[in-house]
Symmetry: C2
Subunit: 297 residues, 2 copies
């Protein structure tokens, strides 16, 4: 068990992460100001920081220090934020609200929003190039994995399939492929990067991969449930979008109850993967997984 | 002097580069097919391959082999192509033609074009992660430089300033800053990567940097002259765009004759920077610089 409450732990880790992001991003008044303002606007728009928090907790689970995982955690958060900016564009999901604020193209115009996404993606690689090598992992491993997870068969591939799946019925395996690419891949990388920063053994890294895959699927199922059941105000983004664009989602395919039980099942599989870690070391990841399962926004 | 004609040399190097690009990019029938088709459509749309050819020639100037520079040369070409796809979007320069073919968003729609650009940018880093370390340079140096040159103060910064400069009069130093970011930065990186793959000395790398900077400025001045003087058919992209969007360019600021003399002057400065290389070693770069100065499209 952890002495510090989960809320306090998350608050503390988020403060570390925000300070690191602030340090790693170009200053708002650096020229050209527009692009740096737009990059910071989306990064500091009040996201949950789920991926970097998981990255830090994974480092601790492997016996490392959270502070040593900050650089890869920030690279992952930058890649995540770029993908949100581009996904929200009119040519994609066409969303006006994100994290309760106007989306980047609403605030800055489409041209700047596209470039702000490009710049955060590029900056993610500038940041990952600053990672320290450990005995087992070098900067080359990090760059290769970040590029693969963000690439055309995973993060971008998921978004393409999602776009193509609008107004057409996908099968369950096809929906799972979308979820894997859109969500599970980068979430898994966040966990693996935390492990790598702590010089994790191969079996620890495998456990984190298994945990991340299942947690990522659970997370996206819950996201799609909330899109159907929660209010726009609570979500901080437009609710009911999936129905309106006739997206094939897990709850659309198997119903709300089926989707809820799928999310529970995946979370359990995620928790099972953690059993190779000593109890006190896995406690935070267990808490975080349960917290994500029970979230309401 | 070089025994092989420049045209034969360029043809031979382009064949090497195209084969490497084909090997490094995901296959067209790999899932999701749409994104891989779109990535390959723009990469193989008949570009001049100026940057990768310069990369290979720089490796040879430093006593290395062209073949050892192929990986970074392809990474640079992918980054260049991504920037063209995004620059052509309706929210940016809104161009329908590129290299004589419909632009990516005309061929695939805006959503896919944005993602194809994202995917090529990400793939550039996947490719640069495959570079061989030399005695003086490691993969970390390459990633750091590629991210910096593609980032918010250079490639993307140039495009932002260019966007903001439409319908408003920029000063000569401001126009130079746009040229540096939009063109000179990535061209310089192409040359430096060639040098790095040949384990160049510090002074060789400085000479290539100086050469690239001046050649890049000359190249962009000529581009803007051709936009005014050449036909759409010859250019393979819409001519007269800069006047229509009231862009501040070098010829708009100092006239066609002034711009022509600026391009010559910059080319001479570029050639001067090569003097540290033995004559037979610098001959190709000299020929390429003169070729770029005298081009008509």
């Amino acid at each position: 068990m952890c002495e510090q409450s989960l809320n306090d732990y998350i608050t503390e880790q988020c403060a570390l992460i925000d300070a690191a992001l602030d340090r790693l991003l170009p200053a708002e008044d650096e020229s050209p100001e527009t692009i740096h303002k737009a990059m910071r606007y989306s990064i500091f728009a009040g996201g949950k920081r789920m991926r970097p928090v998981l990255c830090l907790a994974a480092a601790e689970a492997c016996g490392g220090l959270a502070v040593d995982a900050l650089v890869p955690a920030c690279a992952v958060e930058m890649m995540h934020t770029y993908s949100l900016i581009h996904d929200d564009l009119p040519a994609m999901d066409n969303d006006d609200l994100r994290r309760g604020k106007p989306t980047s193209h609403k605030a800055f115009g489409e041209g700047v929003a596209i470039l702000a996404g490009d710049a955060l993606l590029t900056e993610a690689f500038a940041v990952i190039a600053q990672v320290d090598d450990t005995e087992r992992y070098t900067v080359r491993d990090y760059v290769r994995e970040l590029a693969a997870t963000g690439g055309s068969t995973m993060l971008i591939g998921g978004q393409i399939l999602d776009l193509e799946g609008e107004h057409k019925q996908l099968s369950e395996p096809e929906v799972r492929t979308v979820y894997e690419g859109k969500t599970a891949a980068l979430l898994t990388t966040a966990l693996r990067f935390g492990g790598m920063s702590a010089n994790a053994t191969e079996s620890q890294l495998e456990a984190l991969t298994d945990f991340g895959y299942n947690l990522g699927l659970a997370f996206q199922v819950i996201d799609d449930i909330l899109d159907l059941t929660a209010s726009t105000e609570k979500l901080g983004k437009t609710a009911g979008k999936d129905v309106n664009s006739q997206k094939s989602t897990c709850p659309a395919l198997i119903g709300l109850d089926g989707a809820r039980s799928e999310a529970k099942c995946r979370t359990q599989a995620a928790l099972d993967a953690l059993m190779i870690f000593p109890e006190e070391r896995r406690a935070r990841l267990v808490e975080l997984a349960n917290y994500l399962l029970n979230r309401e926004y």
